[in-house]
Every structure is written in C-alpha cells, then in structure tokens.
Amino acid sequence: MLPGLIACAGLAGAVEVSWVGGGHGSNPQWSSDGAWLAFEVNNNADKVDLYVVKVANGAPAAPTRVAIPGSSSSFSGGGSFAANPVWHPKQSILIFEAANSGGTTRLYYFNPGSGSPAEYLNAAQAPGMLAWPAISPDGMSVAFTSSSSGAGDVFLFSQQTNKVALAFPSTKEPENAPKFAPDGKTVVFSRKSYGTEDVFSMLPGASAAGPVKGATGNGDQTRPRVAGSNIIYFTGERGDDRWDIGIVPLVGGDRRILARDIRLPQRSAPNLSADGTAVLYGSSEPARDGSVYICKLDGTGITEVKTGLSAVGDPAMISAGGKTFLAFTALPAAGSDWRQLHIVDVTGKY
C-alpha cells in the first residue's frame, strides 16, 4: 500500500543554474558540505559533459565544465563522456567515470577549484573499462565495476593498501551500480541475468554475493541504495517503461512499493532526504510531474514540493549550515527548452 499524501509545500525562489552551450541537465549531486553541486549536461551532440558549480547559501556561481586530460576543446571534439559524479563523504572532492572520444571509460578524480581531473586508478592497478564508482562512508574504499575480469564485475579499491581486488568471485553476468551500506563493508548492486536485472548484496564474511529476497523477479530491479536497514531501488517490474521505487530489508524479505510511476533518473540511485529518512523522486505522470515528492521510508507520508515547472526529475537534497537545499531538473511549464537545473531552499518545508 502506498503512503498517502499528507503535506504540500509551495515553492518560491527556485534559482536556475545556467551554463553556456545548452543541453539537458541531469543527475545533480551535492558535495557533503553543500558547497558544490555536480551535474551532467547532454546537448544531444554525441557527448555528455560533467559540470561543477559552487553554491553559496543556495546561490549558484557560474558552472565549470570538468574536462578530463586530452578532452579540452583544442584536443578533441564530440564523443567524449563524463558522468556519474560521486562525492567523497568527508571532503569536497569527487570521482566520476569518463572517456575521451573513442577511448576507454575510466574513473577520474576531481578537486573543484584546483587543477584538472586525474585518472583515479591507473591501468596497472585497475585495467579495463571502469564505471559506477561508489565511495564508502569512511572514505577509505571505492567500489566500481570493471570489464577486466569478464562481463563486468564489482571491484574494491582500498585506500589503506592502495590495492584493487574483486569484491566477490567473478561471474559471467554483468554487475552494475554498487553502493556501500553504512557499515562500509556491505555492498549492494544489481546483476543482469536472462534479460532482467536483480538486486544483490555482498555481506561481510560471505564468500559470494547473493540475491536480495524480495528485490528480484520480473522486470528490472536496479540501482539499489542502502537506507538504514533497508535497500531502496528502482523497479520496472510492471513493464511498459513504468518505474516504481521499492524497498526491502537489507537481509531480504517482503518488498514494499514506496512510489509508483516515478521519473527514472538518468543514472543515479534513488536519492535520499538530507536526514536519510525519505526518498526523493519526480513523477512521470503528466498531471503530477510539476513537483518533487519526499516520501518517508517508513510509509508515514509524502511531502509534495511544487515547483511551477514540468517534467521534474533528478531531485537531490543537502543540509548544510542550518539550511536545506533541493536541486532538481525540470522543463519549463510552457514552451520548450533544455532541461534546466534548479536549486531551492526548502528549509523547514518538509
């Protein structure tokens, strides 16, 4: 049973983040201190760019495109790719996946405001195509997928040992979207098999990863994230490109649907509210797609944050300096334009 709508917050003063060259904005991700926002721009020109923008009290500065070495304008044209930013939980630094035109996707490190990105793991440490970075809560480990051992396996990099190792024995099925649990040891991810995708977990002390009971079955169950003692994930089990948000206990169990017909984000896992007790989403239903929805994980209710825009998606929230800010992408309420990125102060509104 879905939680009922119990609150509605009006929204005023959303600030638009502007960048040069147009393109659809997506996947905004806040730094842990709320001082930076990373997001992707796809201008339908065979490339995806990554931008970072400094945000002071909800006001964005001019965004900066994050150009990996060899991809600056004088060196390459279209086809480059930089996406999937993941911020360090304790510092304003991020890693992301990127590739030059025709090149191999690798992980990159970037410290906004200082220098250019650098390859996070070199080919000697981690060969192959790398993607889906995730940083452990203590910042000492990074999980990612690599093509080096097969169809795509989850690897762990230990900052302490400077070594990379398989998170669990390699399989012939491709694995995606690993995320750490708050204990820093449990890893959840999705595995594709027989045309569908299911949620798996690798628990501490286990010799192999196993499917999470309740988060498998028809359609795709993908991009899991651990929230407390539960896993939330996107599920397409109803088919027809209709997406819901499901929740199951981390150890497996009965699956509940938190939200139906959500607007599936381009790349991210379900984003949580600043206090981690609710999941954020936009709706794919035209009549409801002008709001951000903040749904309590325990099913006690939903807060609707009206934006006055349409096709709202990719919501991300941060609390910093006593304030809470919400970033999201949306199309204008009327007319046509690129999907723009917006920031709004939602302090005390949910």
Partner: protein, 409 residues
C-alpha cells in the same frame, strides 16, 4: 697576439655551449611530438606522454618554444606518474605563458597539500628502504607522488622535494611533512653495530677545467733583480690554454676538496718599439708550465666557489731584457759573464725555468648534466710569484665536476 687568441678560441670552440637556434627540423619534430603526446593523453598512456614531453624539453633546449597546452599536458603526465616536483615546474611554465585560473589554482592546490621533505639514508644502512604514509591519501596524485618517491628511494636514491602533508614512516624513522614547511628531515641510520665505516663522501669524481687563459707577468719587483744580479726578462704577456685534471671529494653536498694537476701555456708577441727586421728576427714569447692546485670548494646550488694554493713549474722563453739589466749592464747568467750591452736589450732572448707559487680562485655556474657529472662555465683567476715578479692570470673555462648529490637526484 690577436691571431694566436683567435686560434685558441677556434680550438676550444667545441667546449663552449652552442647557441640555441631552432630550425625547420626542430619545428617539424615539435609538431610531431606534440600531436603524439595529445593522442597518448587521450588513452591515458601517461608514461608515454611523459617520455614525449621530455623529448619536447630537449627541443626546447634547442630553441623551440613549448605551448601552454604542452606544458599543461606535461604537468598532467608528471602528476600521473607521481613526479609532483616536475608537475609543479611545468605548471609554472604554463602559468608564465597564460596565467589561467585553473593553473594558478592547481599550483595553489599543490602548495596547500604538499610540504618539503628531505630523506637520506646512511650509506651503511642495510635494511629495506621503505616509505609508508600513516594514512594513505584519497587523491590519486598524492598516492602517486608517494609511490613515486617510495620507488625512487627503493632504487637507492635520497630524496629532496615535496610530499603530501602527513605522517610517514621511513624505514622506521617517523617524519611529519607539513604544508609550507619547515622542511621535514628523515635521516635513516644503520642499526646499532652495523656501521661499516666512519666517513662517507657526499660525492666524488673527476674535476676538469679547460679553457682559454690570459697572463701578464709584470715588471720585476723593485730591487729583486739588482740584489740577485741575474739576468731577467722584461715584463711580457700573452694568451694560452689551461687544462686541469684532478679529483673532487665532497665532504658534504655543500663543501668539497679539489686536487688538480694541469698544464698552462702562454704565447705572446714581444713589445719592440721600431723593430729592425733587417738585423733581428723577433720571436714570440712562450711559457709552458705544469701546475698543481689544492682548493676548498663551497657549493651553493649551482654556484660553486673554489679557492686554494697553486704551485707551478715550467720553462719560458722571452724576448726583451729587464730594464735594470739593460741599464746597469751588471746582470750575469749565474756565472762570471756579465752582459753589458744595452743597445739591443729589447731583442735579447732569454730562456729559463720558472718555479712559482701562489693561489687561484674559481667561480663556476653549473648548468648541464653530463652523465653523472655536472658541467658549467667557470671564471678563474690567480697569481703566482717566483719572488722576482708576479704572474697574474685569468681564465674562462668549461668545468666538469661530480654532482653534489653524487648523481642520485
């Protein structure tokens, strides 16, 4: 004398650094290397990018001018392999071409996260040369920097540069690197009872000075000729060559001792007013002298200053009689013969031995690596005396000497 000087210059010309003028060949190679470097960078082949950049640096030494993008790419390559000192130098070169905020902030980021450190291992240290951070950094450039230095140390080198700020264990020696200094020092000593010798030289190697020299032995000291009563030549001068070969021992990286033996010559035209070529053939003056030089050498970076005593023994042939002998007619050749003629004094040709002691000093600027040695340009000068007159000289030389760190850095 002018002709002699020119011949000397031509003879020694290979010793002088060639002036850098890039040509079409260098420009074409520059373009090729630059393109190659860009393609390699797109594939994250950073070791190869580094190699290409070093080739560009070689072209730069020939007069090619590297661009902002090339220096930035060189900095990215150095960062990827962990050579942050080189990374910083290349960023500074890029910033001089175009002080873009991204470069300035990158430099600031290095300065905010790295600190100076000097790691030395006693030559008697027989353990494993290790560098381990207490908490490995997250940033890949910092991890690479630590890895690069760790490898460098493990290869038997000492290190003087920058590392990410933090605590380190250097083969059991704890050291804390702080942003902005002071320079952290880790001096790793051998375990108790394992020291093999008491003294270790910081460097040792050949010291070679070769170049052109001018010398102008002056008038005889007042009374020196009259007291001895021996024939002496008038003052003379000329140019020549000076070659010294020896050994330099580094007591420390900043101080060494030089022992050198060498050969010094002089050729010059005698000064004859209104020469009467119908009666006399005026032949050039010449000196051929061997010498020994002991010196203390202070090294401040690339500037080396050496000074010490000098003693030379040689032979000389000079045209022209000392004024006292010419005027008095009382000089002898050491025997009973008195030479009293004064009419042809300026044509008199004297030969004899010279034994002269004194001192010499040298100021050198080292600017090039020659194998494990350093090469530089030196200005040297000295003066010797045989108690009859002073033999001052000055030399411009090319100097080869061992590197201050023994070629380890």
């Amino acid at each position: 004398m002018t002709r002699t000087f020119l011949l000397l210059i031509i003879g020694f010309s290979p010793l002088f650094a060639s002036v850098a003028y890039a040509g079409d060949v260098e420009r074409a190679e520059h373009t090729r290397l630059s393109e190659e470097m860009r393609k390699l960078a797109q594939r994250n082949a950073w070791t190869a990018v580094e190699a290409q950049y070093q080739k560009l640096e070689a072209l730069e030494a020939k007069g090619e001018v590297l661009t902002f993008a090339e220096n930035k790419l060189g900095a990215e390559a150095a960062r990827a392999i962990g050579n942050i000192t080189a990374c910083r130098q290349r960023l500074q070169k890029a910033a001089k071409i175009d002080g873009k905020p991204e470069i300035i902030s990158w430099l600031e980021d290095i300065d905010k996260n790295y600190g100076p450190v000097k790691v030395t291992f006693d030559p008697d240290f027989a353990g494993e040369r290790l560098l381990n951070p207490a908490v490995p950094p997250f940033a890949p450039d910092q991890r690479a920097a630590i890895g690069w230095v760790a490898t460098y140390l493990a290869e038997g080198n000492n290190f003087d540069g920058i590392l990410p700020a933090g605590e380190y264990d250097v083969s059991g020696v704890k050291v804390t690197v702080a942003v902005g200094g002071p320079k952290a020092v880790a001096d790793v000593q051998p375990a108790a009872g394992t020291r093999r010798s008491l003294v270790h030289l910081a460097y040792v190697g050949p010291r070679i000075d070769v170049g052109a020299v001018v010398q102008f032995p002056g008038e005889s000291f007042e009374g020196a000729v009259s007291e001895s009563g021996l024939l002496q030549p008038a003052s003379f001068g000329g140019v020549g060559a000076r070659l010294g070969v020896g050994l330099e021992l580094g007591i420390s990286e900043g101080f060494g001792l030089i022992g050198q033996v060498g050969y010094h010559n002089l050729f010059g035209d005698p000064i004859v007013e209104n020469p009467d070529s119908s009666q006399y053939v005026v032949e050039p003056n010449s000196i051929h002298m061997g010498y020994g030089w002991l010196a203390a050498n202070v090294r401040a970076g690339e500037l080396w200053i050496a000074a010490g005593p000098l003693y030379g023994v040689g032979v000389g042939t000079v045209t022209g009689l000392d004024p006292y002998c010419a005027d008095s007619g009382k000089c002898t050749n050491g025997g009973d013969t008195t030479y009293s003629s004064v009419d042809d004094a300026e044509y008199q040709r004297l030969s004899g031995t010279i034994m002269a002691g004194g001192g010499a000093a040298s100021v050198s600027y080292a600017f090039v690596d020659v194998g494990s040695l350093r090469g530089g340009v030196s200005v040297e000068g000295g003066a010797q005396t045989d108690l009859v007159r002073l033999y001052p000289w000055a030399q411009v030389a090319f100097t080869l000497a061992p590197s201050s760190d023994g070629g380890k850095n």
